[in-house]
Point group: C2
């Protein structure tokens, strides 16, 4: 089985690649080769199968036909401009998050037609809970409408619709995953408006100060990177006929307030760590985050075997085990 991972140099893409390289198998089958692609060349890694690594901008018109021509049987489409950047740079957000995805789907369709219908890859698309916009119910159910309040959320919601139609027409076998906010993100902050949810845990654990731009009462929906990789692997192996026409899933996660996050940090690392969080309100971030959902009832995904972290303390433990470097 041949794999293509688009967005392989990103945090989740790297963890997914490493996990696949370690296991050598996906959906019970041996991996025959993997093509790792991102805007920068993904880092090298050891694997029991050949790995090709390349740098491409998926918004450039020659790229999608080239990637689709690889005829990978499983494609992970993780590449995205993050929410804060998509809001700040309208053109770039649409070109990459919508244009790049649409071009890839269309190129896959051409390969499907060229193959006489034989080529129909499993395509795992990472969407986001940013497709939802306030007002919200107490917990968002599987049938809640996508009414985004950001350009990023709009782009993701549009890609979900395309994924559904291209799957219904049989051009590809798509599954969309509305990932919770990934927390704790290791490494340097990115430009996502949600970055502080990780920063207020990661930085104090390393003895550094972190900025909290919103109030402690803000509730949000989290999953660890480890859970996110588990979601992607599960999406590659499930029988998609169980999805019916609605190809995108709300995923399980942990609903926690910023206050509860800080309490979990205090239990894991003590009062001194919690004291490193500096309150500095940012109205732009507060406004974006206020439009995001905070709690879900992801019954479909749970029934399909998607599993999340038990609570926010488990999320901190996953970070300490997988990513923490003193």
């Amino acid at each position: 089985m041949k794999l293509l991972i688009i967005g392989a140099a990103g945090m989740i893409g790297r963890k997914l690649s490493l996990r696949l390289a370690r296991e050598g198998r996906l959906s019970g089958r041996a991996i025959g080769g993997a093509h790792l692609v991102d805007i920068v060349t993904p880092p090298p890694m050891n694997a029991p199968f050949p790995i090709a690594r390349e740098a491409f901008d998926i918004a450039a018109p020659y790229v999608a036909p080239k990637l689709a021509a690889l005829r990978a049987e499983v494609i992970f489409l993780l590449a995205s401009v993050v929410s804060g950047e998509a809001e700040a740079d309208f053109d770039k957000g649409y070109a990459i998050n919508l244009g790049g995805t649409q071009a890839l789907f269309e190129s896959i369709r051409r390969e499907h037609l060229l193959s006489g219908g034989a080529y129909r890859p499993r395509l795992i698309f990472t969407s986001s809970i940013a497709v939802f916009g306030a007002p919200f119910p107490e917990a968002i159910g599987d049938d809640f409408l996508a009414a985004p309040l950001t350009s990023y959320g709009t782009q993701k919601a549009i890609c979900e619709l395309l994924l559904g139609d291209y799957s219904r027409r049989g051009f590809l076998d798509g599954i969309g995953l509305r990932l919770p906010t990934i927390c704790v993100r290791p490494g340097a902050p990115n430009r996502a408006a949600s970055g502080f949810f990780s920063g207020i845990i990661r930085e104090p654990l390393s003895g550094k100060e972190a900025i909290l731009p919103v109030g402690e009462e803000v509730r949000h929906w989290h999953a660890s990177p480890r859970s996110a990789v588990g979601f992607l692997l599960r999406a590659a192996e499930i029988d998609t006929s169980q999805l019916g026409a609605r190809r995108t899933l709300n995923l399980p996660g942990v609903s926690a307030t910023v206050g509860e996050q800080i309490e979990a940090l205090r239990q894991a690392a003590g009062e001194k760590a919690a004291g490193l969080i500096r309150r500095e309100r940012d109205e732009t971030i507060a406004r974006i985050v206020a439009g995001w959902p905070s709690n879900f009832d992801p019954a479909r995904a749970k029934a399909l075997g998607f599993r999340a972290d038990a609570d926010f303390s488990a999320i901190i433990r996953a970070y300490l085990e997988d990513d923490f470097e003193q």
Copy 2:
């Protein structure tokens, strides 16, 4: 005030143009000129303001910049490949229904930026109840999710999302209208899968046979062309700040079964007319129609002053008064 009507040669576009020409005013202001555009040149008409008529394919890349450069203050975007054709011709449906709309929005955004933010037209976009897909509640509420089961419905749902984001960003002042199926359509049948809903009334009223491809128990959601024009005029004049972030409305209409349609025909034109309906099941049409919604609770649109026909007999009366030619 300058108007641009894209899709002005279509049935609704012609009726809207004639109504505006007759009244000479829109939203309480005198119309200074109208630009009528379609894939074929719209027919001439007398009006108290200058009218320009042109043929363009909105999927051609030079067209959207040209139309946006007119800087019309009110734009009606009615142009569409119909549902049956969008399902049969995937490329054409996406190129026109999605590509054409997206190019127009983007060109309007360029004009907005060029004008230093001053140009921000009211844009009335005709969407469709085909954005919804089964399973449905008893009556679809204003917060029901868009989960289309056709390419046409997917394209409309995507345009609604773009309309919402371009409006939120202030590039245009958009309002989307999910039109009920328009019934009774005058003239020749088009390629819409919903065409028979009109055919079984229009053809027998003219003494001709009509084919019914589905069962009499099929329930559907209708509005007369007269109501549709009323919706468009109302959309041009309302205060869009009342819409909030959700810029697209479910519209009022008449929920009727095919059996109830036939009974209304019988009351209007007698048993002989009703006898001209020939049952000839078409599985493709039956499958498409089965995925469409049949009943709504359009509370938001009603509160905003959108008004539909009283019942299916009123829809037949509107046809007899406005369009019937013996």
